[in-house]
Symmetry: C2
Subunit: 234 residues, 2 copies
């Protein structure tokens, strides 16, 4: 089922030498996705960057879906090594590393939605996130839910602050701001809280990542310290 993501490259000895490799195909796809967005990644386009034709790719990959999965796991990469830290600092650093990854490959935000098969790198990220939370007294389920909520936050902040090459309607942040202020000038009465919130929010851009992260970590800390206080003196 997930041989492509997990399997070792088996080399059969009959037949002609393969002209490309699965990793090479995935890297070509990553290059295209990085430069022109996920929508620019087509079998034709990938083949155009390699010494093969479109159909040859299907010798290495059962379909585009699986190729995107391989690309995603490869682009995500392994989580960077971090020294041992207290859980809060560790989780914070982990979240920042994750944010870096999504910033480097914005299309990962699109290709890793919904249910999918997990590759080794994605699992390694989860593993490292969990590692930060061992010894906190949280149950396994709580640990999973904790890194999930951190991941959600990081993802959506990245989604909001990145400019996707291609794909979307090419809206810049300024376009959105302009459209929004224009709407609010004509419809201010319908959105009073939004109007005042935006007025008092001037200049506080791009604080969303740290703000939400600190709230989440605060909430976790409350749970963890409460848990410790009720169990350890017993």
């Amino acid at each position: 089922m997930s041989e492509l993501l997990w399997g070792k490259p088996s080399l059969p000895s009959r037949g002609p030498k393969p002209a490309v490799t699965l990793a090479g195909i995935a890297e070509a796809g990553i290059r295209i996705a990085d430069a022109e967005g996920l929508d620019a990644v087509s079998m034709q386009r990938i083949a155009g960057e390699l010494p093969v034709t479109k159909m040859a790719l299907y010798r290495y990959v059962p379909g585009k879906t699986e190729l995107i999965a391989v690309m995603s796991d490869l682009a995500m990469g392994a989580p960077p090594d971090r020294p041992d830290l207290p859980w809060r600092e560790a989780l914070h650093a982990w979240a920042m590393d994750l944010y870096d990854g999504f910033t480097r490959h914005p299309w990962l935000l699109l290709s890793t939605v919904g249910r999918r098969l997990l590759g080794p790198n994605e699992l390694a990220w989860i593993e490292r996130g969990l590692a930060a939370l061992t010894g906190t007294g949280l149950t396994g389920g709580e640990q999973m839910d904790s890194i999930l909520v951190v991941t959600s936050h990081v993802r959506n902040i990245a989604q909001q602050s990145t400019t996707f090459p291609g794909h979307t309607t090419g809206l810049t942040e300024e376009d959105m701001q302009e459209s929004l202020t224009q709407i609010l000038t004509t419809e201010a009465a319908r959105f009073p809280h939004l109007t005042t919130a935006l007025r008092t929010a001037a200049g506080s851009e791009n604080q969303g990542l740290e703000f939400g992260l600190q709230r989440i970590l605060d909430g976790l800390e409350l749970l963890i310290s409460g848990r410790k206080a009720s169990t350890s003196p017993h």
Copy 2:
């Protein structure tokens, strides 16, 4: 720019009567997306449900992107009315309403990613979320960031727990679980924390929404009460 989303239906008086309406087109699209997923929504397919051909739709909509935007804002709907509540209960109820919306129309999770033009309903949701936070002492930027982190959490939980009709590779939750446990039996050594976390997490499914939400609300409460304590006695 966003006349489609915001404009009143202007009726010109020359020419033949329109056979359909923008709202009718969007509703047809919503019906298809609900039943068969976002990928099943094509101009052909929509026209097939209406007494017009594909190309007639372009008289009402400049392109598919804009049509999806109209569909999304319409499907999202206006946030339900809620009685006045303390901010924490209000925000909790708001998050649950949002979750309901995403559950009713899972494709909204796909169609409302990245930068896009905001429609009246989407703005109304933001407005209502902000309303819950007025009087908490948070700045406008902090209020925005707060509802953003709540939204992120709700979105990603919904994304994880919904079954998309069509679109994805048709993986069920069981498929993922099975694939994961199979991987972990052969690669347990590489993922020790994940292995133990999953072992102690048995039976605690679908707690993610409440867990994360309570952590976030706890974190916000800490900030709000701290803010109040430092300003009001002064």
